[in-house]
Amino acid sequence: MLRAFSLGFVLLVLWGLLSGLMEPFLMALAVASVLVVVLISRRMDVIDHEGHPIQLGWRSIFYWPWLFWEILKSNLLIARVILGQPMPILPAVIKVKGSQKSELGHVIYGNSITLTPGTVTIGLERGELTVHALTKGTADDLKSGGMDRRVTAMMGDEKKYAAGAGGGEP
């Protein structure tokens, strides 16, 4: 129920930000649309810890800036690799374990790996990720497990498979 209210609130805010118009008629339309969407979502049973993960939202606030910083660093690294003459690439397929306890955690970890240039998740099975790495540096960096620890910390999994184990992704 809390999730449904939260979803409705988020959708209303989204409507307001996208339209920017505060006329009563349009506001009424907004409320009506949001109600319909929330009711349909509830009926489809998609408002769950994966569809609308609200629990650990504040923790993801600390995760995102770190991920952006990593993405920027990797971009610079891969830019240098691509412009190298010859290209210093050493492609490898490696397997890493995700220490997250929920599927959502594994998916967030896999997506974070893919977002970081130089590593792409090409498979995910029962918490084991198959990753294609472009250079030895990116592969070693991944195997050191810094990102894994950060995602696990964001999920709050080091304590327990907590209250639905939400992440930061709507």
Binding site: I89, V93, P117
Partner: protein, 129 residues
């Protein structure tokens, strides 16, 4: 504290342009990577540069240019959607390549698991439609 015609600080305009130029540079290098890199899996890394570094920095530059307005909010939403969807698209390309029987090009001297990758690449022949 120079102001432009619209009354905005020129310095923000310059920062915006610098960020957009950096983004364009990353996107261009990413495209060069797509051309130069040898196979589909390595090329995905080049594509990844375009939609993280390239798109991200261009959007950031546009946000700086737009200033604290609703336009910036919309740009943030666009960035969020790109960052949520592009890994899914990349993953779909990778799965399609693996199911189609493409084996990742792997150079010797690494601790890769070549045979396993081969098996993975070969087990989806039924889906080559």
């Amino acid at each position: 504290m120079d102001l432009d015609l619209a009354g905005n600080l020129v310095i923000w305009d310059m920062i915006g342009w610098a960020l957009m130029s950096a983004g364009a540079l990353f996107a261009a290098i990413g495209v060069i990577g797509i051309i130069r890199l040898p196979d589909v899996f390595t090329r995905m890394h080049g594509a990844g540069m375009v939609d993280t570094g390239g798109a991200g920095l261009i959007l950031l530059g546009l946000m700086v240019q737009a200033g604290p307005t609703l336009v910036t909010v919309k740009l943030i939403l666009i960035a969020a959607f790109i960052f949520f969807t592009s890994p899914a698209a990349t993953h779909a390309v990778a799965r399609a390549a693996l199911n189609g029987g493409v084996t990742p090009l792997v150079e010797k001297g690494t601790d890769h698991k070549k045979t396993k990758a081969r098996e993975k690449g070969g087990d989806g022949k039924s889906s080559t439609t």
